[in-house]
Amino acid sequence: MLSQLLDITVITGILASMIRLATPYIYAAIGETFGQKSGVLNLGVDGVMLISAFTSYYIVLQTGNLFLAMLVTIIIGAIMGLLMALISVTLHAEQGISGIGIFLFGLGLSDLLFQKLVGTAKPITGFQDIAIPVLSKIPILGEVLFKHSLLVYGAYILIPIAWFVLNKTTFGLNIRAVGENPAAADSLGVNVALVRYKTLIIGGILSAIAGASLSIALLNVFQQNLTNGLGFIAVALVYFGAWRPFYVLLGSLIFSFVNALQVWIQVLGIPIPSDIAVMMPYVLTLLVLVISAGKTRAPTALTKPYERNE
C-alpha cells in the first residue's frame, strides 16, 4: 500500500499540490510578518481572508471579471488593515483579543452575505493555470513548479520582495526599529504609529489576497468558514519562520506538504483513518511551535502598544 506513495506520478502530484496549497499560507504569513516585525500581533487574518474570499468569489460569480475581483480584494484588505491599526495602534487595544473580534466579524459577515446573496455554492471559473513555455516541459520539475495560476506564482515572487523590503530598505529598517525599540525609534524621528499603520495595511492586503487565492484560484468555490482556521496557522508559521520570509516559506511548504500527503493518502485509500490524517498538520504545527519557541526571539515590542511618556 505504502509503495503506491513512491510512484513517480504520485510524487509529482503531491509536490505540485504542495506548491499550490502553500499559496494562501505564504500570502497571509508574509503579511503577518510585516505586522509582527513592527510590533503588532494581528490575529484577525482569518476574518479578513473570509471576507475577501467571499467578495472576490461573488464578483467573479456575477461578472466573471478576475481583475475587478482582485482590485476589490486589495481595497478590502487595505480597509481591514486600517481598521486593525486604528484598534491596536491608536486605541491601544489588547491585540490578541481584538484579532479574535475581527475574526468573528469576518466569519459572521462572510457567512451572512453568502447565505443572503448566493445561497448554495456554485462553482466559478477562477484563475487558470498558465504553463510557462519551455520550463513547464522539464520532466517532473515542470509539472511541479511551472504549471500554476498567476496567484500561485505571485506568492513565490513575493518572498524575495518581502525579504528585500524588510532587510535592505529604510522602510524595513524603520519597521524593525519600531518592533524592537519603539522609544528609541521615536527619539530618532521615526513616526512609530505611521510605520505600524503601513505594516498593518500591507498585512491586510496580503491577507485579503490569501483569501481570494482560495476562492478564485485554488478551490473556485465559497462556503461557510471556507478557510477553516488557515489564517491562524499562517500566524503560527510566522513564529515558526522566526520572522524571516525565507523560513516562513519553508514552514508554509512543510505544512502544505503534510496537507498534500494527507489528501493523497485518502485518495489512494491507504488505511490510515482520515480523521487522524487530517489531524497531523495541526499536531505538526504544535510540535514546530514547541521546537522553534526555545530557539527564536520575537520582536521585543510585539503586542505592546507604544505610548510616549510625556
Binding site: A93, L112, V290
Partner: protein
C-alpha cells in the same frame, strides 16, 4: 457626588455603549441586505423572551456561555489568553460521555456527578497542555490553543466514527454518534421546559469562582501574575505554576460546559465533522461573554444571559425576516472590537484619578504610574 461612584458608572456604561454601537452597525447591515432592522430586532427580542419556552431556551443557551466565560475569565485574569474553549468543551464532553457509557446501569446520584467531574478533568487536561507549553517552552498560548481545538475536533470525529459509534442504528449509513446515555442520567428539568439543572450549577460555580479569585491565595496569585508577572516573581510567586494552574482551571470549566451540554441537553454525542456542530461556537462566544462581563464572575452571569438571548433570538430572526443567524456572529465580533477598544478611556480615567490623588498626597511620580495601572 462621589468620584469613585461616577467612575464605576462610567466603566459599566462602556460595554453597553459598545453593544449599542454594534447593534447600530448591525442595523446598517440589515438595511443593506434589504431587511427592516426594527422588525428584525423585534423578532430577535420576541424569539428570546416571547414566552416561557423562549426564556427557558435563552437560559439553556446561556449556560455553556457562562461556564466557558468563567473559565476564560480565570485564564485572562492571569494574563493567559485561552482561545481553546471549543476543544476543551469537546474533551470534557468526550470524557463525561465515555464515563457514562462505561457505567450504563449505576445509580444516577453517583454516576452523574462523577461524569461531570470527568468532564471537568478532561477539560483541565486539554487546557493544561497549552499552559504547560507556555510555562516550559514559552509557546504562544493563543496559537497552541487554536491547534488544540483542531486536534480535539478530529479526535472527536475519530472516536465517534470508530469505537464509540452506536451500532444499533437503523439504515445503511451509520450516523457518527454514541448510543444514548441511560435516561436515568439526564440532568433533572427545573420547570416543564428544556431548562435543566445545569443553569443552577453554572450560577453556583460563578459565585465559587468569585470566591476563588478574590478570597483565596490561589486567586490572589492568579490576579497578581496577570497584573504584573515581573513583580509577582519578585514576590515569590511561581509564574510557571500559576500559568499551568490557571489554564487547567480555565479548561476545566470549558470541559464542564461540554459535559453539562451532554447530560442536560443532548444525552449522546453526535458529530457533523466540525467543532461548531457540537459546541455551537460556545467556546468563542464564551470569550465575548467574559469580556462583556468585564472578566468578573458575577458580571458574566447577566452577560452570558444577554448573549444567550441573542443566539436564541437569532433563530426566530431567521424564520421571520430571512436574516441568517450569522448576523449574531458578526455582532459578537463587533462587540469584542468595541469593548477592547473602549478600554483606553477607562485606563485614561483611572490615570487621571491617580494623578489627582497623588497631587493631593504630594506623592512621587512612580506611585502615580503604579496606581494608574
Amino acid at each position: 457626588m462621589n468620584k469613585k461612584f461616577i467612575d464605576s458608572l462610567f466603566n459599566a456604561f462602556l460595554p453597553i455603549i459598545a453593544v449599542l454601537l454594534a447593534l447600530l452597525i448591525g442595523a446598517v447591515i440589515l438595511l443593506l441586505i434589504g431587511a427592516n432592522p426594527i422588525q428584525a430586532y423585534g423578532a430577535l427580542i420576541n424569539g428570546a423572551f416571547g414566552n416561557k419556552h423562549a426564556l427557558a431556551n435563552t437560559i439553556v443557551k446561556a449556560t455553556p456561555l457562562l461556564l466557558v466565560g468563567l473559565g476564560i475569565a480565570i485564564a485572562f485574569r492571569s494574563g493567559v489568553i485561552n482561545i481553546g474553549g471549543e476543544g476543551q468543551m469537546i474533551l470534557g464532553a468526550l470524557s463525561a460521555t465515555i464515563f457514562g457509557l462505561a457505567f450504563p446501569n449505576g445509580p444516577a446520584i453517583i454516576i452523574v456527578p462523577l461524569a461531570l467531574i470527568m468532564g471537568f478533568i478532561g477539560g483541565a487536561f486539554w487546557g493544561g497542555i497549552p499552559g504547560y507549553l507556555k510555562a516550559k517552552f514559552n509557546v504562544n498560548e493563543i496559537l497552541s490553543t487554536i491547534m488544540m481545538n483542531a486536534i480535539a475536533v478530529q479526535l472527536m470525529n475519530f472516536l465517534l466514527r470508530g469505537v464509540l459509534i452506536d451500532k444499533n442504528q437503523m439504515g445503511a449509513a451509520l450516523i457518527p454518534q454514541t448510543p444514548r446515555l441511560n435516561r436515568a442520567y439526564d440532568l433533572p428539568r427545573l420547570v416543564p421546559t428544556r431548562l435543566h439543572l445545569g443553569a443552577a450549577i453554572a450560577i453556583g460555580l460563578a459565585i465559587l469562582v468569585y470566591i476563588l479569585l478574590w478570597r483565596t491565595s490561589l486567586g490572589y496569585r492568579i490576579r497578581a501574575v496577570g497584573l504584573n508577572a515581573f513583580a509577582s516573581r519578585y514576590a515569590g510567586i511561581s509564574i510557571d505554576r500559576t500559568f499551568i494552574l490557571s489554564m487547567m482551571l480555565s479548561g476545566a470549566f470549558c470541559g464542564l460546559a461540554g459535559a453539562i451540554q451532554i447530560y442536560g441537553l443532548n444525552h449522546r454525542m453526535v458529530t457533523d465533522g466540525t467543532a461548531v456542530g457540537f459546541t455551537g461556537s460556545a467556546g468563542f462566544n464564551g470569550i465575548v461573554a467574559a469580556l462583556f462581563g468585564q472578566l468578573h464572575p458575577i458580571g458574566i452571569i447577566p452577560s452570558s444571559f444577554f448573549f444567550g438571548a441573542l443566539l436564541v433570538g437569532a433563530g426566530k430572526l431567521q424564520r421571520v425576516s430571512q436574516v441568517p443567524a450569522a448576523l449574531i456572529t458578526t455582532l459578537n465580533g463587533l462587540i469584542v472590537i468595541f469593548v477592547v477598544s473602549s478600554e483606553i478611556w477607562r485606563k485614561r480615567r483611572a490615570r487621571k484619578r491617580a494623578i489627582e490623588q497623588a497631587v493631593v498626597k504630594k506623592a512621587s511620580p512612580d506611585i502615580i504610574e503604579n496606581e494608574a495601572r
